[in-house]
């Protein structure tokens, strides 16, 4: 292992790391918004939208992210919508993640007993207040383990961003290997940066799960 080379590549990897983290988390943010909206539509059986949401979820859960990104990146310009690789990565990840998050939140919503809403109703709360103050926080708690699993999955999925020429970690590693053939060094850096990106999430996830298990029995 050539430490000199590692030191030399480090700035490029660090830059790629920041880009990956930024687009990854933006995509996750979008996926949470889509997921909550989708779960709401499914749980409360909103007419018309329910069918569309189901179709969306099945479509995005059963196609690879790479294919979805190609559709967005190469397909949209044909329809006259120009889109940068960054926006494409963000939107693509958000749409894929949204389909997974919707299912996670839906099962969380279903775990909240209906009588919780009734007790909130009896206190004079309206439907919106009940959803945001009573049902959603409990649904979050129940679904948090699977949401964390989704977050980890999505962060790992960012590795296909290189296919649409986003200079993420994977792209950088491949690029440097192609230029200098320092395969071992580049792959080591790649692993290290992915672990740096994901390990904190895993740890936070485990703490969350413990907290959820201890404090949330009903009554």
């Amino acid at each position: 292992m050539d430490t000199e080379a590692i030191r030399e590549y480090l700035p490029r990897f660090a830059e790629a790391f920041l880009l990956t983290v930024r687009i990854g988390w933006m995509g996750i943010g979008l996926s949470l918004v889509i997921g909550i909206a989708g779960a709401f539509i499914l749980h409360y059986r909103v007419p018309v939208l329910k069918g569309l949401t189901k179709g969306y979820i099945e479509l995005f859960r059963n196609t690879p992210l790479l294919v979805q990104l190609f559709f967005i990146y190469f397909g949209l310009p044909k329809l006259g919508v120009m889109i940068s690789p960054e926006v494409c990565g963000f939107v693509g990840l958000g749409l894929l993640g949204g389909s997974y998050m919707a299912e996670s939140f839906r099962s969380g919503l279903e775990a909240v007993p209906g009588i919780q809403s009734e007790s909130a109703l009896s206190l004079g709360m309206n439907r919106r207040q009940i959803f945001f103050y009573v049902v959603l926080p409990q649904a979050f708690a129940v679904s948090s383990p699977s949401v964390v699993a989704n977050v980890i999955f999505l962060l790992k999925e960012t590795s296909v961003f290189s296919a649409i020429s986003l200079m993420d970690l994977m792209f950088t590693a491949k690029d440097l290997i192609g230029l200098y053939y320092r395969t071992t060094e580049c792959l080591t850096l790649l692993v290290v940066f992915y672990v740096i990106m994901l390990l904190p999430v895993s740890i936070v996830g485990r703490v969350l799960e413990k907290k959820v298990r201890s404090g949330y029995s009903h009554g």
Binding site: I115, S122, L123, G124, Q138, G215, Y216
Partner: protein, 246 residues
């Protein structure tokens, strides 16, 4: 004491999948009155309570709170429910909130009261039910009896005109029943209007101004506790009371 009529239900009918649950229920509750409903399981007493604050839609009849129609489909229903407190058998505290936040959530969000003011009143209520030390705990850290007392405080902070108690001791371990019923007795003494469904006959007798006996969705008998327990007029009530005593 003001003795105006607070709640009235006239000719109320309710069905579940075609099966009659409530049949021709007529009920009037005066301000300050404590009315207890007794009756066998499945006689419709809990359903009646749920209809009175609009959690269930009635098929026929009319329910009014101080002249305002209780109708789950109307826009005013949230305002009405605010005026009717309800405590459930299974407590239904919000598990993600502390005891204090459980009590202050509705006054802050629904009545738009200031947090400091709501918390001040919540602390007074907690002191009254002897749970001040638990204000920062989660519901899962409390016993059933403690949770049920918090549920009562959560209803009281809304200053309801009427309090509905739906078998509030039915899920409790026997040694916790007393601490909850004492709170209710205390409320009765200060002149709260309450409609109580219970299986605790001794408690019913102690707290009620009037007792209603229901069976198969109908009101069979009603009268003072003495009249109901000492001199039941119908065979059904006689049989029910015989079954309840050991």
């Amino acid at each position: 004491m003001d003795k105006r009529e607070l709640l009235s239900a006239e000719h109320v009918y309710k069905y579940f999948d075609g099966t009659p649950i409530l049949q021709d229920i007529n009920l009037k509750i005066k301000s300050g009155e404590v009315v207890v409903i007794i009756g066998p399981s499945g006689c419709g007493k809990s359903t009646l309570l749920r209809c009175l604050n609009g959690l269930e839609k009635i098929a026929e009849g009319k329910i009014e709170l101080d002249g305002d129609m209780v109708d789950p489909a109307s826009k005013e229903i949230c305002r009405l429910r605010e005026r009717i407190g309800m405590v459930f058998q299974s407590y239904e505290l919000f598990p993600h909130k502390t005891i204090l936040d459980n009590i202050t959530l509705a006054p802050i969000k629904v009545q738009k009261r200031k947090r400091t003011e709501a918390e001040e009143e919540a602390l007074k209520l907690l002191e009254r039910i002897g749970l001040s030390a638990h204000k920062d705990k989660r519901p899962s850290q409390l016993s059933g009896g403690q949770k049920q007392r918090v549920a009562i405080a959560r209803a009281l902070i809304m200053h309801p005109e009427l309090l509905l108690l739906d078998e509030i001791t039915a899920a409790l371990d026997p040694e916790m029943v007393r601490e909850v019923l004492e709170v209710v007795l205390d409320l009765a003494k200060e002149g709260r209007t309450m409609l109580i469904v219970t299986h605790e006959m001794a408690f019913a007798r102690a707290v009620a101004d009037r007792i209603i006996f229901m069976d198969e969705g109908r009101i069979i008998e009603e009268g003072t506790p003495e009249r109901i327990f000492e001199a039941p007029e119908t065979e059904r009530l006689q049989r029910f009371l015989d079954n309840m005593s050991f």
